[in-house]
C-alpha cells in the first residue's frame, strides 16, 4: 500500500520527473488502459456513441478546467468557443479542401487566438464581472454564427464529410469503434499534456494567479501574460473538442453550442473537481451518462409513476440541478476528491489519517 511508505525517494532526476511513481499508480493506469481497450468490444454502438460523446466532452472539460479550475478565471463562453473550433475546422475541410488533421490544428489555433481576444477583459475584471464578460463572448460568437451567412452559406448548418486521415476513411459499419480509437488516443494525449503543463513554470504561474494574483505578481509573475496564456491554452483544448465534435457529428449548426452547453461544461468541472485533470474526465463521463441514467430510471418506475416518464426532460433538468447542489454542499472539490478520499481510507486503514 502506498501510504505505508515513509516517503518518496528519488535518486535520479529522471525518477523525479515521472508522472507516476508508485506501483499502485501504475497498476491503476494499467487497469484503466485495459478497460479503455475492452470498451469497444463490450459496448454496442449506442453505448459506444455515448462514450465517444463523453470523450469529446472530456477534452472540452479539461480545457475549461485549465481556465476555471487552475487559473481561477471563470468562463461562461464555452459553447461559443466550441462553435469557433467546430465551424473553423468544418469550413476548412469541407469548403477549402484542407486535410482534416491540418484543419483541426488550424481550428485549435484559431480558437486560441479568439480566446485571447475575449480574454482581454480578464486583465481588469474578476469573479462575477468576468463571468458576465465571458457571457458576452458566448452571445457575440453565437450571434455571429447565426447571422453571418458566409459560415453556413445561408443554410443554418454545415455538412462535414466523413473524417479522412491520410487516406484512411472512417467506415460506416465500424463508425463508432473507429471514432472511439481516435478519440481515446486524443484524450490520452490531451490529459498527459495538460497534466504536464501544471508541472512547468507556466502552469504553476496559472495556479499562483488563481490563489492570489497580487502575491503572484509580487513574486514576478507577469499577470497579463499569464492570464492571456491561460485563455489561449484553455481555448486551444476547447477548439480541439469543437473540431472533433464537428467531424464526429458530421453536421453542425448553432443549436449545438447554446448557453446550455456552457453551463453543462461548468457543471462537468464542478462535479468532476475544479483544478483536476482526472476530475474533468470524471465530470464529463458523469454528466454525459446522467441523462441516460435518469431516462432508464424513468423507464423502470414509469409503470408506478408515469409522470416521471412523461416529464422526462423536466426530471432531467431537476436531476441536473440537484447533482450540482449536492456536490457544492457535500464535496465542492468533486468526484476527484471523493476518489482521493476513498484511496486514503483504504491506504491509512485502520487509522483515520
Amino acid at each position: 500500500m502506498a501510504a505505508v511508505e515513509t516517503g518518496r525517494y528519488h535518486r535520479t532526476y529522471e525518477s523525479q520527473l515521472r508522472l507516476w511513481h508508485t506501483r499502485p499508480q501504475l497498476i491503476r493506469i494499467g487497469v484503466v488502459a485495459v478497460i479503455a481497450i475492452i470498451v469497444p468490444f463490450v459496448f454496442d454502438n449506442y453505448w459506444l456513441s455515448l462514450a465517444n460523446t463523453a470523450l469529446i466532452a472530456s477534452i472540452g472539460a479539461i480545457g475549461l478546467n485549465v481556465l476555471v479550475g487552475y487559473t481561477g478565471q471563470i468562463s461562461l463562453g464555452q459553447g461559443g468557443f466550441l462553435a469557433v473550433g467546430a465551424f473553423t475546422s468544418a469550413i476548412l475541410t469541407d469548403r477549402m479542401g484542407v486535410p482534416a488533421p491540418l484543419s483541426i490544428l488550424m481550428a485549435v489555433a484559431t480558437t486560441a487566438v479568439i480566446g485571447v481576444l475575449f480574454g482581454l477583459p480578464a486583465l481588469r475584471l474578476k469573479g462575477l464581472y468576468l463571468a458576465i464578460a465571458t457571457l458576452a463572448s458566448q452571445v457575440v460568437i453565437l450571434f455571429i454564427v447565426r447571422r453571418w451567412n458566409f459560415l453556413t452559406e445561408g443554410q443554418g448548418f454545415v455538412d462535414v464529410s466523413r473524417l479522412e486521415v491520410f487516406g484512411f476513411k472512417i467506415e460506416r459499419s465500424t463508425f463508432e469503434q473507429q471514432w472511439y480509437i481516435i478519440l481515446i488516443i486524443v484524450t490520452v494525449l490531451v490529459a498527459i499534456t495538460a497534466t504536464n503543463l501544471f508541472r512547468t513554470n507556466i502552469g504553476r504561474a496559472f495556479m499562483a494567479v488563481r490563489d492570489q494574483d497580487i502575491a503572484a505578481s509580487a513574486m514576478g509573475v507577469n499577470l497579463t501574460r499569464t492570464k492571456l496564456t491561460a485563455f489561449a491554452v484553455s481555448n486551444a483544448y476547447v477548439g480541439l473538442a469543437g473540431a472533433l465534435l464537428a467531424h464526429y457529428s458530421e453536421i453542425i449548426s448553432w443549436e449545438k453550442f447554446t448557453m446550455d452547453v456552457s453551463i453543462l461544461y461548468l457543471a462537468m468541472i464542478i462535479v468532476g473537481g475544479l483544478g483536476s485533470i482526472a476530475g474533468s474526465i470524471y465530470g464529463a463521463l458523469f454528466m454525459t451518462f446522467l441523462p441516460i441514467a435518469v431516462r432508464m430510471f424513468g423507464e423502470v418506475i414509469g409503470g408506478v409513476v408515469p409522470q416521471v416518464q412523461k416529464q422526462l426532460p423536466a426530471v432531467e433538468h431537476a436531476a441536473f440541478g440537484l447533482v450540482i447542489i449536492i456536490f457544492l454542499i457535500f464535496e465542492p472539490r468533486g468526484l476527484n476528491r471523493i476518489w482521493q478520499r476513498i484511496k486514503d481510507f483504504f491506504g491509512f486503514w485502520p487509522f483515520r489519517y
Binding site: 508522472l19 443554410q155 448548418f157 466523413r162 469503434q177 453536421i251 449548426s253
Partner: protein
C-alpha cells in the same frame, strides 16, 4: 520516461484494436415481430405547443393501426421520446433508435431533421418529420428525407400569390419568422418567388426573438415599413401573441400564417384577435371535414377525445405516420426484407399515398428524383373562432 512508454503501449494496443474491430448490425426482421420505429418528439421544448399535439396524433395512428391488425399482421412499435428541441438530445435518442434496430425514424422539427440528415443517409433510414424545409426534398442532398406536404417555401409562395391577388395593387409584406433554421427556411425562397413572378410586393423579413412577451416594437417597425400583410413562420403561441399585440395597437395588417401557426391553437390562444387573419395550411383541419378525417374522428370519439378541440397538428401527425406506415406496407407486400433502404425504394416507387383529401390535393407521392410529397395547400381564414376554408388545393 514511463509516461511516453505507457502512451506508446496504449496507442499500440488501440491501433491493433482498430484492425480487429468490425461488427455489422442487421436491420429489419422476419415473420410477425413488431416493427420498431423511432419517434423524436418535442413535448416540453420551445415548439412543444404544437409538437405535443403532433406526437399525440402519430401515436394515436399507431394505436389505431395496431388495434386493426397492424401492417400485414405485424404490429408497429413506436418508440417515442421527448427531446425538448435540444439538438444534442435528439442525436443521442437517434443513436439509441438506430441501436434498437429501428427501420425508420419520425422526427419533429427542422433543427433535428437537419442535424440528423447526413446520419440518416449514412445509416439508410427513411426520415419524415414535421419539418417542410425545401432542401430536404432534394434526394441528391438528402437521400433519406421525405417531405410529406407542401414545403414551407411552397406555402410561402402560395401565400405570396394570394396576397398579390388579394391586394390587387402594389403592397408590402413583412415576413416575421422564428429565429432558427425552421424560421428562416422559406424567407429567401419567398423573396425570390416575388422577384421571379414579378409580383408587385415589397418583402422585408424580421426574426422574432424567442421568449418575447410583447411584439409591439416589432409591429411598429413593420408599420414603418408600410407593410399591409404579415407572413408568420413560427409556432402557434408566439404567433397568437403577435396577433394580440397587433389588435391592441389597432394595426390593420393582415396576418398570413404558414403551417405551424395556422392551426386551432393559434385561434384559441389569440381569441378575438385571430378573427379575419389568414392561413396557408397544407393539412386540412378537422373542421374541414374531408373523407380522410373520418378515421381520426372515430378514433377520437372511441377514446374520449373531442374532435372539436383537436388541432390540425394532430391530423398532421396522424397522416405523417400513415405515409411511413404505407411505405412499410408496400415493402412487406413486395416480399423484400424490411430495411431502411427498401422502405425508401418502396416510397419512391409505390405511387401516390391516399390521405383522403387531408394533405393538399389529397395525395402524397414521392419519386426517385423528388422527395417533395405534395406542393399544394389550402387557404383558410378565421371566422367566429373557427378555421374556414377559403380555397383548397392551391399550388404555387
Amino acid at each position: 520516461m514511463k509516461a511516453t512508454k505507457a502512451t506508446m503501449l496504449l496507442a499500440g494496443i488501440a491501433a491493433s484494436a482498430l484492425a480487429v474491430t468490425g461488427c455489422g448490425s442487421s436491420g429489419g426482421g422476419e415473420s410477425d415481430e413488431p416493427i420498431p420505429i423511432g419517434v423524436l418528439a418535442d413535448l416540453s421544448g420551445a415548439t412543444g405547443d404544437v409538437g405535443s399535439v403532433f406526437n399525440e396524433g402519430m401515436l394515436a395512428y399507431v394505436d389505431n393501426l395496431n388495434a386493426n391488425g397492424g401492417i400485414n399482421d405485424r404490429q408497429l412499435e413506436a418508440m417515442s421520446n421527448d427531446y425538448a428541441y435540444e439538438i444534442p438530445k435528439a442525436e443521442e435518442l437517434y443513436r439509441k433508435y438506430v441501436n434498437d434496430e429501428s427501420v425508420a425514424i419520425q422526427g419533429w422539427g427542422t433543427g433535428d431533421t437537419e442535424a440528423l440528415r447526413t446520419r440518416v443517409a449514412n445509416d439508410e433510414l427513411p426520415f419524415m418529420s414535421g419539418s417542410f424545409a425545401e432542401e430536404l426534398t432534394n434526394p441528391e442532398e438528402s437521400p433519406f428525407n421525405f417531405v410529406v406536404a407542401a414545403t414551407y417555401s411552397d406555402q410561402a409562395r402560395i401565400g405570396m400569390n394570394w396576397i398579390a391577388e388579394d391586394a390587387g395593387d402594389k403592397t408590402a409584406v413583412a415576413i416575421l419568422h422564428n429565429d432558427s433554421p425552421f424560421g428562416t427556411a422559406p424567407v429567401q425562397d419567398a423573396k425570390d418567388w416575388v422577384k421571379e413572378k414579378g409580383l408587385d410586393i415589397d418583402v422585408t423579413s424580421y426574426a422574432m426573438p424567442a421568449g418575447t412577451t410583447n411584439y409591439s416594437g416589432m409591429l411598429s417597425q413593420v408599420d414603418a415599413d408600410g407593410a399591409d400583410y404579415i407572413m408568420v413562420q413560427n409556432v402557434a403561441s408566439p404567433a397568437a401573441q403577435l396577433a394580440k399585440d397587433l389588435a391592441d395597437s389597432s394595426g390593420d395588417q393582415k396576418i398570413v400564417c404558414l403551417n405551424w401557426c395556422g392551426n386551432e391553437l393559434f385561434v384559441t390562444a389569440a381569441g378575438e384577435a385571430a378573427e379575419g387573419h389568414m392561413m396557408v395550411q397544407p393539412v386540412a383541419p378537422l373542421s374541414a371535414d374531408k373523407p380522410g378525417h373520418k378515421e381520426i374522428v372515430d378514433y377520437l370519439e372511441a377514446n374520449g377525445g373531442d374532435p372539436k378541440t383537436t388541432a390540425n397538428s394532430y391530423v398532421q401527425g396522424w397522416y405523417t405516420m400513415h405515409a411511413m406506415a404505407e411505405g412499410i406496407r408496400a415493402t412487406l407486400d413486395s416480399d423484400k426484407e424490411l430495411t431502411g433502404a427498401n422502405i425508401r425504394e418502396a416510397l419512391e416507387t409505390m405511387g401516390p399515398i391516399d390521405t383522403g383529401g387531408v394533405f393538399g390535393l389529397g395525395e402524397i407521392e414521392f419519386s426517385a428524383d423528388s422527395h417533395r410529397g405534395s406542393n399544394s395547400a389550402g387557404m383558410y381564414t378565421v371566422e367566429d373562432g373557427k378555421m374556414v376554408e377559403v380555397e383548397g388545393g392551391l399550388t404555387p
